[in-house]
Symmetry: D5
Subunit: 152 residues, 10 copies
Amino acid sequence: ASLIPRLPASSPTLFEAKKAKNLTFEAIAKELGREEVAVAALFYGQAQASPEDIQKLSQVLGIQQSTLEDQLAGIPDRGRTLDMPPREPLIYRLFEIVQNYGYAYKAVLNEKFGDGIMSAISFSTKVEKETDEKGDWAVITLRGKWLPYSRF
Amino acid sequence: ASLIPRLPASSPTLFEAKKAKNLTFEAIAKELGREEVAVAALFYGQAQASPEDIQKLSQVLGIQQSTLEDQLAGIPDRGRTLDMPPREPLIYRLFEIVQNYGYAYKAVLNEKFGDGIMSAISFSTKVEKETDEKGDWAVITLRGKWLPYSRF
Amino acid sequence: ASLIPRLPASSPTLFEAKKAKNLTFEAIAKELGREEVAVAALFYGQAQASPEDIQKLSQVLGIQQSTLEDQLAGIPDRGRTLDMPPREPLIYRLFEIVQNYGYAYKAVLNEKFGDGIMSAISFSTKVEKETDEKGDWAVITLRGKWLPYSRF
Amino acid sequence: ASLIPRLPASSPTLFEAKKAKNLTFEAIAKELGREEVAVAALFYGQAQASPEDIQKLSQVLGIQQSTLEDQLAGIPDRGRTLDMPPREPLIYRLFEIVQNYGYAYKAVLNEKFGDGIMSAISFSTKVEKETDEKGDWAVITLRGKWLPYSRF
Amino acid sequence: ASLIPRLPASSPTLFEAKKAKNLTFEAIAKELGREEVAVAALFYGQAQASPEDIQKLSQVLGIQQSTLEDQLAGIPDRGRTLDMPPREPLIYRLFEIVQNYGYAYKAVLNEKFGDGIMSAISFSTKVEKETDEKGDWAVITLRGKWLPYSRF
Amino acid sequence: ASLIPRLPASSPTLFEAKKAKNLTFEAIAKELGREEVAVAALFYGQAQASPEDIQKLSQVLGIQQSTLEDQLAGIPDRGRTLDMPPREPLIYRLFEIVQNYGYAYKAVLNEKFGDGIMSAISFSTKVEKETDEKGDWAVITLRGKWLPYSRF
Amino acid sequence: ASLIPRLPASSPTLFEAKKAKNLTFEAIAKELGREEVAVAALFYGQAQASPEDIQKLSQVLGIQQSTLEDQLAGIPDRGRTLDMPPREPLIYRLFEIVQNYGYAYKAVLNEKFGDGIMSAISFSTKVEKETDEKGDWAVITLRGKWLPYSRF
Amino acid sequence: ASLIPRLPASSPTLFEAKKAKNLTFEAIAKELGREEVAVAALFYGQAQASPEDIQKLSQVLGIQQSTLEDQLAGIPDRGRTLDMPPREPLIYRLFEIVQNYGYAYKAVLNEKFGDGIMSAISFSTKVEKETDEKGDWAVITLRGKWLPYSRF
Amino acid sequence: ASLIPRLPASSPTLFEAKKAKNLTFEAIAKELGREEVAVAALFYGQAQASPEDIQKLSQVLGIQQSTLEDQLAGIPDRGRTLDMPPREPLIYRLFEIVQNYGYAYKAVLNEKFGDGIMSAISFSTKVEKETDEKGDWAVITLRGKWLPYSRF
Amino acid sequence: ASLIPRLPASSPTLFEAKKAKNLTFEAIAKELGREEVAVAALFYGQAQASPEDIQKLSQVLGIQQSTLEDQLAGIPDRGRTLDMPPREPLIYRLFEIVQNYGYAYKAVLNEKFGDGIMSAISFSTKVEKETDEKGDWAVITLRGKWLPYSRF
């Protein structure tokens, strides 16, 4: 609830419709042909909706298309949902992974690719669930284009 | 270089031997039967070395076993390599992914698993390289046990 | 009062009903079969209510069940009640205990269990009152599952 | 290792002797008649050693008594081992417990005791290990004198 | 004015009545048998009102007792009025005294009392005015119980 | 120990001599005709030594006067001993008093004196010990000149 | 505009009247017999208005005297307009002067006056405009009473 | 003393020679034809020395010119002497003036000059001492070129 | 959306009219004879509008001139749109350029111009789009007057 | 000077040789066929040296090639030279440009390119000097590849 002042106007519209329709991100993602994380990011104002996304969201969520067009117009102003370090325990664990393994990732990536970065823009991510005899496992995959530093 | 004061005594020992032997993390990881990221984390003092790891590191890196036993004894004091937010661009991109997609991950994980977190302890990670016509792609996989909140 | 903007909509509903009914956390906890701290955490939006919890809270507090179902639906967005370092003296004392004894706890826990952490998720806690000739004593017990670091 | 510049001169003396003698905190604590956490705190410069503690530490660790008397003289300058928020995952979990349950503890403590705080000075703490079919559990007990606010 | 959102509901009630009645803290303190600083702290939500305090405040300030009972019920949530470092020059001077003389106070207190702290809970304070040929002087007295660290 | 890099060269000189001579601040203060807190502040580089102070410190501590003249020459660079918020529990309690009672002090001081501040420069302070049936009490007195804001 | 929530109620009253009357601070300052900076500070709630100031402000700005008496009653709660470091470029330049020349000012002031400070309370300041062939120059004068540290 | 690690190599050279020669900034400033504050800034590495400055400093301070040429070569790396907010009381008072009067200065400067800033680069400053029957006064003058914002 | 509380009243007026009229910054900039970045800055309250700008904005955007005159009167209070470090990825990249190349820019600028700064006030900037076989490129040009430090 | 502890071992080697040879970045850049800013960044450890760069640096600076190969081996650990916000006035002006115009750049770039960022990796930059009748102007050009957000 108290996250709402940080979110764009589209967020309560989308979340309330999702709750009323009792839909999962998985179901909506299938309709849009996008990843669940991308759909959730769109709900939080962290990803852009294409015109087709808007049309399908309107249908599946039962929201007037003009409302969505108005609220989802423009380009996201990202980075507003979260203060760092995150205080939410689930999100903190991801932060901790960066804190603890940051230099290890850099060392291995530099060894494999040379001097550069993994893009967070030309990038996709997904979440999967695996189950074995030890219990459930969450698997998060990050896939980003390797960008070498330009020589200039 | 200026990272060194933050690292345990084992770090320069390991990095210098790796450079002198001209070895990759990939090669060392194969010897140890561990992931490259785990080996790099071990080099930065962020992962524990088992007695067998120490023995194999001694062999492959040409470091006296007693030196390694002494420097790698005990349990890591993690979290010292990095100030947050990270200033290194490669590591910052990972931080940015958490900042932008943190609530989206939470929403999707909660939908799939209920109330809980993905463990960063009962956890493994790896880095892979993919190449297609658009160029090179880095793929980072995070796999953690799902821990539901205890009811009490 | 000024804490309210940080709390979910359920918090004023619950606290006002508790005050109107003149109930203690102890009494409510007995009804729910949960620890007092868990119940207080639920009031502050820091713990999840099960469907049975909601039903019982509705009864004992005299709140319409549909209101509670609506306000307590979903999974808590934890960590919003408190800025760290805490300024409230009672809470600061707990913070100070972590600050002063943090490494001592780590040293003793690592000695007893090896490399890992005490889970704050697979976790329970309780508060007890003891009285002796010197006065009253508060006893807080933290009990968490030991999670060893995965080798990978 | 990199924690050392933050510690008093006594810390390396004590830790090195403990390692050389291959002693546990448990064993040393038994000799001193103190809790393991207290002994570890003493090693990190966060608790005061009495003259008898010094004498016994000298014996059990094989350190010249005059060295210990010199290095452990005076009153601890507490709070220097840790920057908050803690980056060490084990210690962070304790911090997170305070962050998430701080107001719940306050609510329950105020209900049981009235207006006041649990002392962190007139205070003791211990760590225990429990094992059941689900695995190992760490149990941390905090016991502090209740101090009511003076009316003035 | 802009301090108000940080204060509990009782604060504007009390301050407005005090202004309307044109009363000083000195006068109110006399009625309540408390120190002026305690009364001012009560106005800012930093001290608890006893039932007798509420009754007398109701009388002297001309506020309905039920209003005060409602607004002053419960236990203060202290520490919300001020961000540190304080920006108000008068309050900053007190902060500066702690910053500059903090270790000197510790050295002298430890010398006089041993290892422990001066309680800020079992504590009282008062403000006095002195005048001599050089002008006016403010005298603030802090009196706290000495709490020795428990040996454990 | 780890405080030393923050202190001027005079601090170890003075503290070591004090320890060697087994003198209290009380005894030294009597020699100098100053308050104990002032003497301790001088030891920490937070107060200036007059030529007579230097002469007497040389005698009572058995330090060559030229050494002291050299190390105590010049005007203190104050404020370096402490990071705020203080982590030392004893000093934190003083900080907490400012945090909790800051606006109460301001309200009472403004009522007694008008618009202005209590000087922390034209200022003195002392520490006293009181004992009654409830135990020991520390009493800290702050006395500062009242400075009204200039009208301009 | 977005500065308004930080300002006391008197600020919009004063600024709107000034705009409606199309008056400069210079003109108002002349009426009040004060410096322009003092008048602007009064508008921002950073300086106290005397009864005569209120009377004259009422006349010159065409505001009802009772409104001003009500809104300007009491003693300013200073320091609320600005977060440090300032982000406004004009104000940042003043901050930068303190950052770059702070120790130079201290060195020169200590040389001229001994150990002490320049008061910011017993203090006045003014702004002047000079023009020469190179363009316009702003001249800010700060004049504060020298306060020597008390010996105690 | 503990400021030294933040200063360039030239600073101890200059300060020690100044002390050995028992010279004031005033005397040195006269030799160089510069303001005392500029000379002190030069000593702290916050202002550039011209070749003539170096020659004269060499003469007046009795330092070998080649040493000074080496240590004062290059362009200052400004801003390193001070962490903000400043903890030194004298420097804090200047910071407080910016904090309290920042918007008042902006309002008056904008009224006199339009949209722009007072330069801190095309800038000079000086310190003067005034004495009247009330005591000593420090007068600091800041004079900076007015830079209007470019229209583009 | 959630940026709006930080912006002046003119911002929603301007952005809504721009959206309603379906105009680009490019088109508006042509009307005003200004750079697109300047126009966007004006929309965000970071640049001043001249009387002619107001007149033209009124025409092209179809807003009543008196509304714009009222909302765009006065001089911008700059620096309010953004907390640093920026969380928006696009803006963070610019921040990162300053972080990584800051000292390199300083070294090259000092070599070319001597001791001084590039003005951010007597300054203009523009954005251009280039396209080649590798894709699209954004080109940002910053042009500022060189200001040498005054000798004083 | 005090910047040195933050820089890699190669930095003093390079800067001292440059000073001894009295070479400009311009001259070195010509030898290497790189931009001056890139060369300065290389000196500060913020850009990678190719084998040819190392060979040419060795020649032009008169440093043994093996020394440079050793010190410049590996991939830069960027972002260590600067704490943000920068305190150096020249670098601060660049920071201020991002702070003030950040959203304006975003608005214009999004309008021209759609949703994405300007890369700081696939990026080049240069500094030029222009002179006109008003004086000298610094022109900094930033050119980065436009990266559209991936749809996923």
